[in-house]
């Protein structure tokens, strides 16, 4: 069996980058694409959170972008759209596709001179995490780009993709072999489980249900831990009545050993996702946290990652973190350590009634009570 493992591993070019099962999925996307007859082909990548939609779209982009005259990968569209930054995203997209710096359109419709240039270009475009058809329509008008272009859209919402894509590729869970490999890469830094750990590893991957994010988080928190720790943790996970992916991610957080690292993680999730690393580190250092070690632990545990000098984390991990903070207090907002939603902040600020009483009034009050 081990020789088969080795051969399979050696065959995969994605192996070096810690990607598992991506090549076969790209192949399937290509097959689907070849069935679409139109000039400009739009393909949707659909699947649950943490299943690897963005990773697959990214790998697809890396493999094929050189074959197109223009290409761009637009990240976090849902998030940026919530911040009202769709126009900026479209400017970014047009600048990249037309290779012109700082192109500013400003108007809702794309001007003719840009249209004329766009329709001559064969482009590859990835729109990552779209959750509304209008985002797609705002960013790109499909008849606008040149023949032979490909648009890849990822979403958790199948309905959105049905409206915009010619074909939808549904990302499947990792199969047993892939799951064991990805888990081992995180838990042992090797492509297969260490001797004597096979059974425990199988228990672990069964819990993760083929979800790559869960496999990474689970594997990295068991990394270099003694057997006893593995057994107790896996037992505990097994006792969950209805184990889901967010429970597993939560365990990744709960088992962080010190409050320093936990606080850093929560601060990033609530406030600093997508900010420059240096900026975030400076502020958190100022708060008295040990950021060097904290960041290292969080990166090792697959809870955050640094890309383009920015601190990033997976949506599901952020949701888990926000949930941790929300659960600090279910009834009273002010008992929460961090507030980020405008509604909550507004409520706290406007209900935080404190009156300033001057001494004379204070003495009057005391006398009044004494007499009473």
């Amino acid at each position: 069996m081990q020789t088969i493992w080795k051969r399979l591993n050696d065959a995969s070019p994605s192996k070096l980058r810690g990607l598992v099962g991506v090549d076969s999925r790209i192949e399937q996307i290509n097959k689907l694409l070849s069935t679409v007859p139109s000039d400009v082909r739009t393909i949707g990548i659909w699947g649950m959170g943490g299943i690897g939609k963005t990773t697959i779209a990214g790998a697809f982009y890396d493999s094929f972008s050189s074959q197109y005259e223009g290409h761009h990968f637009l990240q976090n569209i849902r998030q940026e759209s919530e911040k009202g930054r769709l126009n900026d995203l479209r400017d970014e997209l047009l600048s990249k596709l037309l290779e012109e710096q700082n192109l500013r359109v400003g108007t809702p419709h794309i001007p003719t001179f840009i249209r004329d240039r766009l329709c001559q270009k064969k482009v590859l475009l990835v729109l990552d995490d779209v959750n509304d058809v209008r985002q797609f329509q705002h960013l790109i008008e499909v008849p606008l780009i040149g023949a032979g272009s490909v648009v890849v859209v990822t979403s958790r919402d199948k309905q959105v993709l049905k409206n915009v894509a010619d074909e939808i590729y549904e990302v499947e869970e990792l199969n047993y072999r892939e799951a064991l490999q990805l888990f081992s890469m995180n838990a042992f830094k090797e492509t297969e489980p260490q001797k004597g750990y096979m059974e425990l590893s199988i228990t672990a991957i069964n819990y993760a249900k083929g979800n790559p994010l869960a496999l990474r988080v689970l594997g990295s928190f068991l990394f270099s831990r003694e057997r006893q720790f593995w057994e107790s943790q896996l037992n505990e996970i097994g006792s969950f009545p209805e184990l889901n992916i967010s429970d597993l991610l939560r365990i990744g957080f709960d088992t962080l050993r010190d409050n320093n690292t936990k606080s850093i993680f929560l601060d990033i999730a609530c406030f600093f996702r997508g900010h420059q690393v240096d900026f975030v580190k400076r502020i958190l250092d100022g708060c008295g946290f040990k950021t060097d070690i904290g960041f290292r632990v969080l990166i090792d545990r697959c809870l955050i990652k640094i890309s383009d000098d920015k601190v990033e984390m997976h949506d599901l991990l952020q949701e888990m973190a926000l949930d941790v903070v929300r659960k600090e207090s279910l009834d009273e907002l002010g008992r929460q350590s961090r507030l980020w939603s405008p509604k909550d902040v507004y409520q706290v600020l406007t209900n935080n009634l404190v009156r300033f009483i001057y001494p004379k009034v204070f003495h009057f009050l005391c006398n009044a009570i004494w007499l009473y």
Binding site: G84, N87, C270, E332, S337, P342, V348, L353
Partner: protein
């Protein structure tokens, strides 16, 4: 006075004694009386995006009891729009624990007089009306 009955007085007194305000000189100049419905002592970080609500008016003591507040950002994510938080009666206090203060369009000409900026690592008061950050005799 609106607080007429004994039990309310007792509550008031309790609060009075628990939150006295000492100014720089050490002399008691007044007392913060807390009648809030929401406790805020635990808040360490607060980011407010005002793009949904155009105009917000806060009382001068909006941040008075957030002793632990280390991160405060008030901003408008909608490009081009200004941040409009009004403080018609000024601002009484800000947490001494503040490390990060970012307030686009801060509406006053100075920070609260008892604010101690020693711990700040990042201060951003862009498009604000600030003329003077703190008094000369405040030790930085």
């Amino acid at each position: 006075m609106q607080y007429g009955c004994t039990s309310k007085f007792k509550i008031l007194l309790k609060h009075c004694f628990s939150f006295p305000c000492f100014q720089g000189t050490g002399k008691v100049e007044g007392i913060f009386l807390d009648v809030s419905k929401i406790r805020t002592e635990k808040v360490e970080g607060m980011f407010l995006d005002v793009s949904e609500k155009r105009e917000i008016e806060l009382t001068s003591t909006a941040f008075a009891r957030m002793y632990k507040l280390r991160l405060l950002k008030i901003y408008n994510s909608a490009a081009g729009d200004k941040c409009t938080v009004h403080l018609p009666s000024g601002l009484e206090s800000l947490s001494h624990e503040l490390r990060y203060l970012h307030w686009d369009g801060y509406p006053l000409t100075s920070l609260p007089c008892n604010f101690r900026p020693q711990n700040l690592v990042e201060l951003n008061l862009s498009s604000s009306k600030v003329e003077k950050l703190w008094r000369e005799d405040q030790v930085f």
